[in-house]
Amino acid sequence: MPEIKKIATRESYGNALAQLGKEYDNIVVLDADLAGATKTSIFKKAFPERHIDCGIAECNMAGIAAGLATTGKIPFMSTFAMFAAGRAYEQVRNSIGYPQLNVKIGATHAGISVGEDGATHQCNEDIALMRTIPGMVVINPSDDIEAKEAVRAAISHQGPVYLRFGRLATPVIHDHPDYSFTLGKGMVLREGKDITLIATGLCVNSALEAADKLKKENIEAKVINIHTIKPLDEELVLAAAKETGKVVTIEEHSVIGGLGSAVCDVLCAKAPTQVLKIGIQDVFGESGPAASLIQKYKLDGPGVYEQVKAWI
């Protein structure tokens, strides 16, 4: 069996910034003492004069990013999801969201796959927080290739964008010539008529693995990758729900307010469908190796399979 290439999407983020920094001289990158961890250090090395370390002060960083954006810069404000969406929520809402400023929020270390740092640093609520802000685009890429494309798409989009990246190295699943990223468009990775698995982030790979296992039991699962949680690809979600009846959402995020909720918002209004929401079940995380946590919280392939099987 060939070895699967694994890359953490925070790494992809840093690499994309360094690449795109060459194309756009108005990109500036802000950090709050975490350039090494967010991987913006890669950009910093290439463009030291366009990297701004704000120190450990995320709320101020959000405001500085807003101010920079008013002058025509494209600021990428980078820190852990916990501090970007959590600590600086109100600054993001009022200083960036309300005036619809062209700030990109690069949030790394999202979800429980932060690992050993434990619950204080494992943000399972960021998608919920960010998608409530009017006009905020929310993107949660599923691998290295998608993450890099997401950064490019964020630059092309005028207005605030929240980009969610992970710490854990995860399989590269889109390494083929047909892959293309369109903001707000989901993608069907696998056809199936019995059930739809809608996944985001590192859970896309888990959904594919679960679909393999289900197939062995003659359950044909359609697998949809949703990288843009807001605006959600409603058309695709509705069509899949109508086609397969049952829908499962899978995310490394609280089942409250994330992808599952976004999907339910659409379905309950336009095509009432039974939905199983797989994710973090309204609990805080804990310390441990990332892979073990993903397994414990049943977000890996076998865990997803088990939950789908029990529900179907």
């Binding site: 709320c59 954006a69 008013t70 002058t71």
Partner: protein, 279 residues
């Protein structure tokens, strides 16, 4: 403008503040009136701005960090020609572009949306940083309340601005001594205010009477000449300045006058205006 002209202009702006808040039946007259002379000095004397081209790239920027005193900013912008003075009567009303707190998307001349205290200064710092990065010579001004500096974010921003030696940034603290719940030193004292900004590597200028244009001019001139560090002007002002019953009263922080009070307020300001005409 000479001092007398500035005084007359400030008096007109005060009338507009009172009228706007009276029309809205809500708003923040106290801190708008305390800062009316600072607003006037900024927009009629100090800043490089053009009401015909509110978005021109090389303009000086102003961020009203104490965003609740929008009536003060709006009245000044209107008198400076950014939009009709008549529109001030629509303040806070449904459908009006004059939102309760500054909204940069819809109000000509507003450089940053603000209102949630402590946030405006960070945006001002970002603008000043951008100017430095691109070697532009525009200046950035931001006005903070003395209660507002209780917000921790203010000091995050101050630390950054001092560290980066942003000498194109001027912070003005409207030290009227009162916040909603009472005297600032009783609620949670920010004093000594000057020493705090000094500690954050600012050049500090104390203005004994922030409602006096001579003193304001001296302070703004000194700030402009200061290189290598940002400047903070700590301006002692009178909350509610110019309206007898509002002066030095925390009760007039966020309350609109009724009809009778409005008449009294306007009479006070008419009288002040007539006195200025005698000069």
């Amino acid at each position: 403008m000479n001092i007398l002209e500035l005084q007359k202009k400030a008096n007109e702006i005060r009338k507009s503040i009172v009228t706007a808040v009276y029309s809205a039946k809500a708003g923040h007259p106290g801190g708008s009136l305390s800062a009316a002379d600072i607003f006037t000095y900024l927009y009629f004397e100090e800043m490089n701005i053009d009401p015909e081209k509110p978005d021109k790239e090389d303009r000086d920027r102003f961020v009203l960090s104490k965003g609740h005193t929008a009536p003060g900013l709006y009245s000044t912008l209107a008198h400076r020609g950014f939009f009709p003075v008549e529109d001030l009567k629509t303040l806070r009303s449904l459908g009006s572009y004059l939102q309760g707190h500054p909204c940069m998307q819809h109000i000509p001349g507003v450089d940053m949306s603000s209102g949630s205290l402590g946030q405006g200064i960070s945006a001002a710092v970002g603008m000043a940083l951008s100017g430095k990065m691109d070697q532009k010579d525009f200046r950035v001004y931001t006005l903070l309340g003395d209660g507002e500096i209780q917000e921790g974010q203010v000091w995050e921003a101050a630390m950054f601005a001092g560290h980066r030696q942003l000498d194109n940034l001027l912070v003005i603290v409207d030290n009227n001594g009162l916040q909603i719940d009472g005297k600032i030193e009783d609620v949670c004292s920010p004093y000594p205010i000057d020493k705090k900004w000094e500690a954050f590597q600012f050049h500090v200028i104390n203005v004994e009477d922030g409602n006096d244009f001579q003193q304001l001019k001296a302070a703004f001139d000194e700030a402009r000449e200061t290189k290598g560090k940002p400047t903070a002007i700590i301006a002692k002002t009178v909350k509610g300045k110019g309206v007898s019953f509002m002066e030095n009263s925390a009760a007039w922080h966020g309350v609109a006058p009724n009809e009778e009070e409005y008449k009294t307020a306007m009479a006070d300001l008419e009288k002040a205006g007539e006195a200025l005409c005698q000069k």
